[in-house]
C-alpha cells in the first residue's frame, strides 16, 4: 500500500476542507475544518438588549434562521421567567416545522441526491429527473411559504419577538397551509420512498445519539436531552459537552467525555420514533432500514421521514389554532441566565444568555449542530478510509467521503458541496 496524502484544496467556495494523511493504510491525521471567516456573533451580542438577540443571531444562518430566532427568544424567555401563551408556542413550532421542511427538501434533493444518481447537481438531473426536481421545489415552496406566513419573511423572520408575536396569521392563512400540507404530504411520502431505496455505504457507528425528548410529542423545544446513556436538562449542557478549538478550523468542536457523538434526524428518530405521526411511523416500519440505527448514512432517509411527520404536524397545528391578537408578555428584568435547546434541521441548537439587571446581554454562548457533529464526522472518515482505499480508486474514495460529509447536512455555511480532495502520493 503506497503512502497517500489526501489533501483538501482551495474550494471554489471554501467553507470547509478536509486534510488527511495516510501511511501504510493507517490514518495518521484527519482534519475536517471550516475555513469560513470568523464572525464573532457571541462577541457582537455583548452589550445588546435582550430583545435584540434573536434579530442578530438569525444572521448566523440563512437556512436555519428560524431555529436561531426560536432558540434566542426561548432562551431569553427562560431567563426572564416569561411563560408564553399556547398560541405563541404553537406558532414557534409551526415556524420550526416550516424551516425543517424547506431545509430538508433543499438538502435531500439539491445537495445529497445528485451523488446517488450520478450527477454533479440537481440542475444537471433535470432532463431525466424533472419530476423529482419539481417535487423538491414544491416542498421548498411550501416550507418557505409556511415560514413567511408565520414569521413575516422566509429568511430572517421578523414577526416573532421575546414574549410573543408582533403579527398573528389569519385563520384563513392557516387553513390554506393545512390544505397545502395535505397535498404536499404525498410528495413527502414519495421522497421517503426514494431515499429508502438508495444503496448506502455501511458504517456501524456506536456513538451516542443525542436529541431532545418528550413523552407526548416528537420533541422540538423546551425539553430535556437524551441519549442511549444520558438524560439532562438543557441548562446542564456545559456539564456534559466540552467545546474546544483546533487551530486548523474556524468552527468549534464539541466532545462528551472526550468522545464524539451525533445529533440530527438520525438521533431524533432513534430516540423519538415512538412519537412520530402514524404515517411517518408506517413508512419507517415498512422500510428495510431498521431502527435504532447506527449508520450515519441513513440520516438522509431520516430527514425524509421527518418531512412526512412535519406535514402531519403542520396539519394538526393549523387545524387546532384559532388565531387571536395577544399582548406580548412583559418581562420583569433581573440579573439572570437563560438557556434554550431547539431541534433545528441539522440537530440540536443551544442558545445561552446571561443578562444584567437592565436586560443587557453580558455573556452569550451558542453551539450549533454542525459543531456538535464535527468530531463524529472526522471519526467516521478516519474509520472509512482504510477500507475504502483498499477497494476503490481515488474518485470513488472522494465520492464516498463527500457523501458521508453531505449526509450530515453540515452547515459550515450550509454545505460542503464544493468539497474536493487532492491526492498526493508520497
Amino acid at each position: 500500500m503506497p503512502s497517500i496524502t489526501l489533501n483538501h484544496i482551495t474550494k471554489i467556495e471554501g467553507h470547509a476542507k478536509l486534510y488527511v494523511e495516510i501511511k501504510d493504510n493507517k490514518v495518521l491525521k484527519c482534519e475536517l475544518s471550516s475555513v469560513e471567516g470568523s464572525r464573532y456573533f457571541e462577541g457582537i451580542l455583548k452589550g445588546k438588549h435582550y430583545y435584540e438577540a434573536h434579530e442578530i443571531t438569525s444572521r448566523i444562518c440563512g437556512i436555519c434562521s428560524c431555529g436561531h430566532n426560536v432558540a434566542a427568544t426561548s432562551a431569553i424567555e427562560n431567563a426572564l421567567g416569561i411563560e408564553v401563551s399556547k398560541q405563541t408556542l404553537a406558532l414557534k413550532k409551526l415556524m420550526t416545522l416550516g424551516e425543517r421542511i424547506r431545509s430538508h427538501a433543499t438538502h435531500l434533493y439539491f445537495l445529497a441526491l445528485p451523488d446517488y444518481m450520478g450527477y454533479e447537481s440537481a440542475l444537471a438531473m433535470l432532463p431525466k429527473y424533472k419530476k423529482e426536481v419539481k417535487r423538491a421545489l414544491s416542498l421548498m415552496r411550501f416550507g418557505n411559504n409556511l415560514v413567511k406566513v408565520i414569521g413575516g419573511r422566509d429568511l430572517h423572520q421578523v414577526s416573532m419577538t421575546v414574549g410573543g408575536f408582533l403579527k398573528i396569521p389569519k385563520k384563513q392563512e392557516l387553513d390554506e397551509l393545512a390544505e397545502s400540507a395535505k397535498i404536499l404530504k404525498e410528495d413527502a411520502i414519495e421522497t421517503a420512498k426514494l431515499f429508502s431505496k438508495l444503496t448506502l455505504y455501511n458504517i456501524d457507528d456506536r456513538c451516542e445519539h443525542f436529541s431532545l425528548h418528550e413523552k407526548e410529542e416528537y420533541a422540538m423545544l423546551n425539553s430535556s436531552l437524551v441519549s442511549e446513556k444520558a438524560r439532562f436538562s438543557e441548562y446542564e449542557y456545559l456539564k456534559y459537552f466540552e467545546e474546544y478549538h483546533n487551530n486548523y478550523s474556524t468552527a468549534n468542536f464539541v466532545s462528551k467525555d472526550s468522545k464524539s457523538f451525533l445529533v440530527g434526524s438520525l438521533s431524533r428518530i432513534n430516540n423519538n420514533r415512538e412519537q412520530l405521526s402514524k404515517d411517518a411511523k408506517a413508512i419507517l416500519l415498512s422500510s428495510s432500514i431498521k431502527f435504532p440505527n447506527t449508520n450515519p448514512f441513513t440520516n438522509n432517509f431520516c430527514q425524509a421521514v421527518e418531512l412526512v411527520h412535519s406535514m402531519d404536524q403542520v396539519i394538526e397545528l393549523c387545524n387546532s389554532l384559532t388565531p387571536k391578537e395577544e399582548r406580548l408578555v412583559k418581562p420583569k428584568l433581573k440579573k439572570t441566565r437563560g438557556v434554550s435547546a431547539v431541534e433545528v434541521p441539522r440537530g440540536t441548537l443551544f442558545h445561552d444568555y446571561t443578562l444584567d439587571k437592565e436586560g443587557v446581554i453580558v455573556h452569550a454562548n451558542i453551539i450549533t449542530p454542525t459543531a456538535l457533529n464535527l468530531k463524529n464526522m472526522e471519526e467516521n472518515i478516519r474509520n472509512m478510509l482504510p477500507v475504502l482505499i483498499k477497494k476503490g480508486n481515488e474518485e470513488q474514495v472522494n465520492l464516498e467521503i463527500e457523501k458521508l460529509i453531505r449526509c450530515y447536512d453540515p452547515c459550515f455555511s450550509c454545505s460542503t458541496h464544493f468539497l474536493k480532495v487532492n491526492w498526493k502520493r508520497s
Partner: protein
Amino acid sequence: MGRLRIGFYGLTGCAGCQLSVIFNEDELLDIIKLFDIRAFPFIKASNDEERFDLVFMEGLVASPHDIETLTRIRAKTKTLVALGACAHSGCIPAYRSFTLKENYEHLLYSKAKDIADVEPEPISKHVKVDYVLPGCPPDKKEILHFMKEIALGKTPKFNHNPVCVECRLNGNDCLLIHGKPCMGPITSGGCHAVCVTGGFECWGCRGPTGDANYKAYIALLKKKGYKKEFIKTRMMMFAGKIQPEEMKACLQ
C-alpha cells in the same frame, strides 16, 4: 447573443443570499434556461471558472481565503454584483470593528495562517463592484428582476426612496408614532417594507439613503426616550462600513 455565463459565489456569510436565488421556486427552472450557470458551488459540484459575464457575490471579506476568492473571480468577470448586506456593507459581522475588543476577546484563539482573521470589510473595499443588490436577505424578486434587465441588455434601475414610501403604500401604521426605533426614514427602500408589514421595526439592512436627515432622525429618537448609545448601535449595525460622512458626523 448567446446565454450569459453566470456564477454565484459565497464568501463569509450565512448562505441566505444564495438561498434567496434558489428559493425562487417558481422561476428557478426558467433561470436555468435563460442563463448559462457556469458556477454555483453551493449546489454544483462541477464549476467552470474560465470567464463570466455576470457574477453574484455573497458575503463579506473576513479571511485571507475570502480575499483570494474575490480577487480571483473579479479578474474573470465582466459584471460583478454584491449580493446582500454582507457584500454591500459588511452587515452585522462588520460590527465587530466598532465594538470593544474585550467583548470578543474570550472568543479569539490561535488559528492557522490561511484561516486567520482579516479586518471585516464589504467586497467593494477590495475590488470594483458594478452593482449592489442590498438587503439582509436581498429581496428574491428583486434578484430576478435584476437578472431579467441584464439579460435584456438594459441598465437596471434601483429604488432610492426611503423604506417609508413603500411602508405607506402597504397601509402600515407608522411604528415611530408608536415609539419604536424604526429606521425606515433613513434606510433605502426596495424591500416593500417587509419588516414593518410583519410588525417589526426597520433595522436598516438595505443601507442608509444618501440624502437622509440623520440629525433630525437622531433628535426624534432621543425625544422618544432612546439613549444616544442605543441609537448609535442601531444605526451602525447594518450600515457597517458604508456609513455616509453625514451620518458618521451625527454619531460622533
